[in-house]
């Protein structure tokens, strides 16, 4: 997904706009391919599952349908058609921007997604904000607090956060702040307090990944000559952190954030279930349980789109954070890895 030669053209041409556009267009084409593949994959996976959304409901003996009635309904929904025909019908509608009707609720898929998207976007961005604040606070702490006064414990926090599933954090928060302290009502999961706690539950495990990368980079930067020089000139640890270490260390964080988008989306699904929020996660859950193919396809395509776009934005933002990328040969830089060593190597070379 990340071409190693991505900015090569940019270096030969002083005008950055065209190569940028070509690059962006290429990535967009890739995005379209990824989305279509995700769409096909969803279709295949759901189609090979036993049963279909219509008969699953109709065959509940409680409903009292005769076999003839069931067959007539299945035929009217086109579910008796061969799989390739069903795929072609759905794909041709999808390509014209028509996501169709949900098989479960008979409502337009676009409406269903529009209904739940804001809730998920709010939770995901709040969760990401929490993750960033927590990660930077921990990383900052590791640089300031000596190991014997708890700095070591701070370094252990990310591993702890990673190993506690976010639904456990969620349940603990609900119990403590919802039921015991009464800060929010469990039945109003969209209230400010409830959203804040949901964001904490979502953000904490994600903060761990960001914090780990950030700490590793801060440690690396703190060992550099320029940091030693700064310290020898009497610069305090706090100012050193804020002025010199933070910016170079946060560069890989952008990549990590882009990569955690998948986890933010996946985590939202679980966090939504725990807190009872109605977002994309709960829509996917209901649709998956009902084998509601049109909704699942649209959501998977949307998730693929978000993932691809966020990564694209991250790539495009990189040169802005590190001006050296536009001055010295960036083609080889960080390319297809997300870890800090690539960025560090680059800086060692160019710096």
């Amino acid at each position: 997904m990340r071409p190693s030669h991505r900015m090569a053209a940019g270096q030969r041409n002083p005008d950055m706009r065209n190569p940028y556009l070509i690059y962006a267009a290429k990535r967009l084409l890739q995005a379209v391919a990824v989305i279509l593949l995700a769409y096909l994959f969803t279709f295949v996976v759901v189609s090979i599952l036993p049963g279909d959304p219509v008969t699953n409901v109709l065959r509940d003996p409680q409903n009292g349908f005769t076999e003839e009635q069931i067959q007539a309904i299945v035929a009217a929904q086109g579910l008796d058609q061969p799989i390739p025909v069903q795929l072609w019908t759905s794909l041709s509608h999808f390509l014209t921007g028509d996501f169709g009707l949900s098989m479960r609720s008979s409502r337009p898929v676009a409406t269903l997604i529009a209904e739940v998207l804001p809730s998920t976007l709010i939770l995901a961005s709040a969760g990401l904000a929490v993750a960033l604040v927590v990660a930077f606070a921990i990383a900052y702490g590791t640089q300031l607090v000596p190991t014997r006064f708890g700095g070591g414990a701070l370094r252990a926090l990310p591993s702890l956060f990673l190993s506690v599933p976010n639904f456990v954090i969620g349940l603990v928060l609900i119990h403590a702040f919802g039921f015991q302290l009464g800060l929010f009502r469990v039945i109003e999961p969209d209230s400010a307090w409830a959203t804040a706690f949901a964001a904490i539950a979502l953000g904490i495990p994600i903060s761990a990944q960001i914090a780990e990368v950030l700490i590793a980079n801060l440690d690396h930067e703190a060992r550099q000559d320029y940091a030693a020089v700064a310290r020898s000139r009497g610069l305090g640890q706090a100012r050193l952190f804020a002025r010199h270490l933070l910016k170079p260390s946060s560069l890989p964080v952008v990549t990590v954030i882009a990569l955690t988008v998948g986890e933010v989306l996946g985590g939202s699904l679980i966090t939504e279930a725990v807190f009872g929020r109605t977002g994309i996660g709960s829509l996917v859950q209901r649709s998956a349980a009902a084998q509601d193919l049109p909704v699942l396809q649209a959501v998977v395509a949307l998730a693929a789109l978000v993932f691809v776009l966020v990564n694209l934005v991250a790539d495009l933002v990189y040169p802005l954070l590190d001006p050296r990328l536009t001055l010295v040969g960036p083609p080889r830089r960080r390319a297809d890895t997300a870890d800090d060593t690539a960025a560090a190597d680059l800086r060692t070379v160019t710096g």
Partner: protein, 543 residues
């Protein structure tokens, strides 16, 4: 009622204690100074079901709660199966029970202003019967398939024609599924009917707001004045609003009611009920009208083709232990293979008593002798029973495990298979080749429809894999279907129940409770209908 200026959990619990003490007194709704009006109620529910197209959702378990408040029906069926007039003030039928004339209440309107007249009723009957399948609007599966047509004789009179005697028609009108919807809504395409906010009913509440999979908020309709006489109130509802809110986690629903954040928790687990009751919460376990939970036995599959083995099974189950172990005293012992509150159900408890000695004797007589490990064998084959836990009933597997122990003592080797809904639907069927016992959970409209399900005639479901081979059962089936009055039918139904139980065709476990309500003590006066749905139309909320 107690008055608290600061409603709190402690306040609720205090109120609970007081109310528990006064629960024997008449309901506040009947007090001289009139019931307390106003109040908002929050009902926590596990799901709001898949769709809101009225036809496709009316008999689904979850949406029925909302439809019961947003729509009305032509007849009212109470928790004892008693049918009484509602929007149909009276009705007549011909001698053959093939033609019914319904007389409608005057002045009833849907919330979109359309009058609820004979034409509206005809439009509803037609769509219940046939749906509009091509458009994705299903028929109502339980509506009598003998329906021919309906006509509006005048503004207030509807005549309904059937192709065959249909004594169950009037009870059907009080059943889920038979909800009256404005003809304007019915004329809309499926995708618009699926938007609950656009659906107009004539019920005591209106949909104020809703979000799929999240909540439905109902507010009372102020000009409502046509409630069912049977619930003792016909004017506008007392409560201002009812909010149905999805909380999927069962313990969270109960905890929210315990902490005073909500008023009703739906589908609590049976094990939680006792402490909740003791803490002063109202626990309701209404029974629907239908079959008891039990097995339809496949009489084609050895050894269950032997009546003695079936009878041993009937006598070898300790039903009281099921209630004591898996359930609570709120569950009732089966007295027949249909629930005891169904009109026409008769008490055959004697046939269902636990008698392990009798069971052992019957198995000995049938040639099944104890072998190694206590398992009985015959001709080298072990006595086995494979149970497929019903995925629609949460407690099914626990009951299976207990029954497996009980039968194990008698020499049975019991295997339990627990499938998900989809797999169950595909692999497990009445009389299936590897299915000796099909676990039934099913409500029905009228005991008269029972007999025709049991055999294969007229698209029957052939529950016992008998086909048309049992002349006694066939004869009872035909005489019950042809009965033109309830007086003729009642003794036949009694005979059917006795015969099916004696033959061990149906092995009841317990009477079934599929809807469990845990309610805060401040809420009073709700009613439960024949399908065990709670209605808060008559409910009031204290503090």
């Amino acid at each position: 009622m107690t008055e608290h200026h600061f409603p709190s959990r402690r306040g609720l619990l205090a109120a609970a204690a007081v109310l528990a003490g006064t629960s024997a007194l008449p309901l506040p709704a009947l007090a001289a100074d009139g019931p307390r009006k106003g109040g908002d109620v929050v009902f926590l529910i596990d799901s709001l079901g898949p769709t809101w197209i009225p036809n496709n959702s009316a008999i689904s378990s979850f949406q029925g709660h909302i439809w019961g408040h947003v729509t009305d029906k032509l007849a009212y069926v109470d928790a004892d199966g008693k049918v009484s007039p509602w929007l149909a003030t009276r009705w007549e039928q011909n001698a053959d029970a093939t033609e019914f004339t319904l007389h409608l209440k005057e002045g009833v309107t849907f919330s979109d202003g359309t009058p609820l007249d004979a034409a509206a009723v005809v439009a509803n009957l037609d769509i219940w019967h046939a749906g509009r399948i091509k458009e994705g609007i299903n028929p109502i599966g339980l509506f009598p398939k003998t329906y021919d047509r309906a006509e509006a004789v005048d503004l207030r009179t509807v005549k309904v024609h059937f192709k065959a005697p249909t004594l169950g028609f009037i009870p059907t009108l009080g059943y889920h599924g038979s909800i009256l919807i404005s003809p304007k809504t019915l004329a809309k395409p499926a995708s618009q009917q699926a938007d609950l906010a656009r659906t107009a009913g004539s019920g005591p509440y209106l949909v104020a707001a809703w979000k799929e999979g999240d909540f439905v908020k109902l507010v009372k309709r102020k000009d409502y004045k046509w409630g069912p006489e049977a619930v003792g109130h016909t004017g506008p509802a007392y409560l201002d609003s009812i909010t149905y809110k999805v909380v999927t986690e069962p313990s969270l629903r109960v905890a929210a009611v315990q902490s005073g954040q909500a008023d009703i928790a739906y589908n609590a687990s049976p094990q939680e009920l006792k402490p909740l009751k003791e803490a002063g919460f109202t626990v309701a376990t209404p029974r629907y009208l239908g079959f008891v939970n039990g097995w339809a036995i496949n009489t084609r599959l050895p050894p269950y083709n032997d009546v003695k083995v079936r009878q041993a099974l009937q006598a070898g189950i300790d039903r009281q232990e099921i209630i004591d172990t898996v359930y609570t005293p709120d569950w009732k012992l089966a007295t027949s293979f249909i629930q005891s509150n169904v009109p026409g159900a008769t008490d055959h408890s004697a046939l269902l008593s636990y008698d392990p000695a009798k069971a052992e004797r019957l198995l000995d007589e049938a040639g099944w002798t104890r072998g190694r490990g206590g398992i009985r064998t015959k001709d080298g084959k072990p006595l086995t029973l494979t149970l497929y836990s019903n995925p629609y009933l949460a407690t099914s597997k626990a009951v299976d495990e207990l029954v497996a122990q009980q039968l194990g003592k008698l020499g049975w080797k019991v295997d339990i298979r627990a499938y998900d809904v989809v797999t169950f639907g595909q692999k497990v069927a009445f009389g299936g080749p590897a299915v000796p016992a099909y676990e039934v959970t099913r409500s029905f409209i009228d005991a008269g429809t029972v007999a025709s399900i049991l055999t294969s005639a007229n698209n029957g479901e052939n529950w016992f894999a008998l086909g048309d081979s049992d002349p006694t059962l066939n004869d009872l089936r035909d005489r019950i279907a042809g009965a033109k009055s309830h007086e003729v039918r009642a003794p036949l139904l009694d005979e059917l129940q006795r015969y099916v139980l004696e033959q061990g065709y149906y092995i009841p476990r317990t009477q079934i409770v599929q809807r469990i309500y845990v309610q805060s003590p401040g809420l009073k006066g709700e009613t439960y209908n024949g399908i065990a749905y709670a209605s808060y139309y008559t409910a009031i909320k204290g503090e």
